[in-house]
Symmetry: C2
Amino acid sequence: MGIGNRESGIGNRETGWGRGKREKGKGKRPSPTLPSFIQRETGIVNRRNPQLSSTDELGMQTALEEARNGSEVGEVPVGAAVIVDGKIISRAHNETISRNDLTQHAELIAIQSALKSLGTDRLENASLYITLEPCAQCAGAIVLARVGRVLFGAYDPKAGMAGSVEDLLRHSKLNHRPEVRGGVFETECGALLKVFFKGRRE
Amino acid sequence: MGIGNRESGIGNRETGWGRGKREKGKGKRPSPTLPSFIQRETGIVNRRNPQLSSTDELGMQTALEEARNGSEVGEVPVGAAVIVDGKIISRAHNETISRNDLTQHAELIAIQSALKSLGTDRLENASLYITLEPCAQCAGAIVLARVGRVLFGAYDPKAGMAGSVEDLLRHSKLNHRPEVRGGVFETECGALLKVFFKGRRE
């Protein structure tokens, strides 16, 4: 099941979050967002994602917000957003539980919704933000809709198709290859999933 | 574009249809369906698909009918059907043109519709019939929805993910692997696409 996939792989990646326990009271991480005067001076918004533009920051924060919204209604906390020219065109969270349909992933819904909103059949100028590496279905939808850029948070070693299991987004034989960046706000994105599944097991 | 994909690859496969021109008036193929008394005696329905059960025959014929329906309204002629216990649960054709959304493939619509009709979140007892090898998105949806069996007609060497480009349906790392059979009614399924695209080029 997709949900199971998304769960058990979390915490195995290079950034090391979730791999070990920190000592209590120690190692509390500083806020990733830098003070606004530093942002203005340096153009750097996020200390862990130094090259992130304010639009990308907005996209990922929107996706994270959606993931949290999903979690509140019992959905696996995965969120997505589509931005064109700095404007949020669509946003969605997983709806696999509410619609009783395991294909209703956040990014598929966000892509279809963006196509509808824009009245276009291609998203070449769009950036898609997802809190989790897309699965085969969603990577396929990204290629079909020719999404220009994809940024995602946590990796999914068990079903991720942007490098973890296969790389369908940069596949030499497919006719569209978006710009891809993974691991953006990885800690925050993965933590949501971790907390959610921990809660379900208890 | 998905459509382009689906077009240009057609005709390159092992059965050889579309690869060369037959001489006029020669080599007209006999109907693939055997006379009913032979069907009763032998249990063989289709001379080119000798092991096809009557349910599978129904599934593929329904998918072909859907592909033709799609073609009539200007859609790329790809059709799909879902059968459970000998009963057609859902059927669909591509709706990429009418919905202006390249993700609206026949088999994705058929899967989502079957899940809704049955009120279930898995299709382990279902057979999915498609006239064309599924792309990444649809192969991913098949794995997510845990479709039990997949039968398809024409291969798609440019985007097919059931063996042509990759094999996501029988991927060792994914957690569901349906039974797969390709090339069923391959000639009929491919011919529809060939005629459609020939018409568009003229």
